[in-house]
């Protein structure tokens, strides 16, 4: 039985562009995945190309034509089929991209440690910030699901990401010049962690200065239906009434609107307000409440009398 996301989790996703489920996948499935791809020590890796070739030749990860239904994609009983059948993963996918989602692409990202670059006499660099996979002005959104079969320590780099950037429309590596962005985070996690990114979220692979190989299995999923109240089929969500602005009442409890209106340290003073407006517009699409507002951002400028 799929465990659909809560309205709080959806608001978190709408505002930050990401959700995480720590240590969700059990140890046995993580081991099966690693055994299946032939995980080994870095000393036994001669070249990146040979390592990938071996995984592609021997693992149960199938070649999946773009546009294949997720439910038909992975062999029954395979580690990936178990992961996607997990009630929390299944529920999060159904909440965000629906029950008939299709696969855009998948990839097993492998980040090699310093030892490999020394052996190969190559400069070891982190991956620059980017947004997958080309300029995308749609209101519809895709998600990228990340699975981490091993622990990821700080030294292993982790996937770097920038919460709240998902609604900024940029063109892939057009953001590569931003080496560091205030509030940047890296996915440092326990084995079996699942992350879900809005397809617009800015990110990049961190440099791995540990002794171990880092794996991240990624699948990009597309919806085939409108992404409206998918997490709330009984349509229980109702927008909250207006509240006082600036001269506020701090005694009030935090609400969904506080999650939606969270700011980030990288946002410019002026554009931060547009970022909030875009979160409200996104929330209108997700909830189907086409006139709803938070903190009067859109009501104020929709009051056009001429």
């Amino acid at each position: 039985m799929a465990k659909l996301l809560t309205t709080e989790q959806m608001a978190e996703f709408a505002n930050s562009g990401c959700l995480f489920f720590d240590e969700l996948i059990d140890e046995q499935t993580n081991k099966e995945f690693l055994d299946d791809i032939g995980h080994t020590e870095i000393d036994e890796v001669d070249s990146v190309q040979d390592y990938y070739r071996n995984i592609k030749a021997t693992s149960s990860i199938p070649r999946i034509p773009a546009g294949t239904k997720l439910k038909d994609a992975y062999p029954k009983g395979s580690p990936l089929e178990k992961i996607f059948s997990h009630e929390v993963v299944d529920g999060a996918i159904k909440s965000l991209v629906g029950s008939n989602t299709i696969i855009d692409h998948q990839f097993l990202h492998i980040t090699f440690p310093t030892k490999y670059f020394k052996q190969a006499n190559q400069r070891q660099m982190s991956q620059q910030n980017h947004q997958d996979s080309t300029i995308d002005p749609r209101s519809t959104f895709d998600v990228q699901l990340f699975y981490f079969p091993t622990e990821v320590t700080k030294a292993m780099g982790g996937t770097r990401y920038h919460p709240g950037t998902h609604l900024r429309i940029v063109n892939e590596f057009g953001i590569a010049k931003y080496q560091n962005i205030l509030g940047q985070k890296s996915i440092v996690c326990k084995p079996g962690t699942i992350g879900i990114f809005h397809s617009g979220l800015w990110h990049g692979a961190g440099v791995n200065i540990s002794e171990n190989i880092r794996y991240m299995f990624k699948v990009r999923l597309q919806p085939t239906e409108k992404q409206e109240l998918l997490w709330d089929p009984e349509k229980k969500y109702q927008p909250l009434p207006n509240r006082a602005l600036y001269w506020t009442d701090e005694s009030k409890d935090k609400t969904i609107n506080d999650i939606l209106m969270r700011s980030y340290p990288w946002q410019e003073a002026d554009t931060n307000r547009l970022d909030k407006i875009n979160v409200v517009k996104f929330w209108r699409l997700l909830t189907g409440h086409k006139k709803m507002d938070v903190d009067y951002w859109l009501t104020r400028i929709e009051n056009e009398l001429y």
Binding site: M125, N129, G157, R168, W266, E268, T271
Partner: protein
């Protein structure tokens, strides 16, 4: 003695050098340090003005471009970009 250029790019919270640093990149033409994406979580200076006070010379700043009609709410790249340089002499 040869001269090499070090470049510091700061993205500020405001279109004024008084603005706080929200993003930064460093490219060291002396070869002494290899900077890369994600290599520091703390900005090198609190504001653009602090970089000037430390001897960095400003050589380019982003222009204010009015939003295109109909695209007023579209957000995209970081807006307030400032390029600084320092020249360093040495045997490179």
């Amino acid at each position: 003695m040869a001269k090499r250029q070090k470049v510091l790019v700061l993205y500020l919270k405001l279109p004024s050098l008084e603005g706080e640093v929200i993003s930064w990149a460093t490219f060291d033409g002396t070869g002494k340090k290899l900077h890369m994406t994600g290599d520091s979580d703390e900005p090198p200076y609190p504001t653009g003005l602090d970089a000037l006070l430390d001897g960095w010379r400003l050589f380019q700043a982003s222009q204010a471009i009015p939003e295109h009609p109909g695209q007023e709410f579209r957000t995209s790249y970081l807006k307030h970009e400032f390029f600084f340089e320092k020249l360093e002499e040495g045997d490179f």
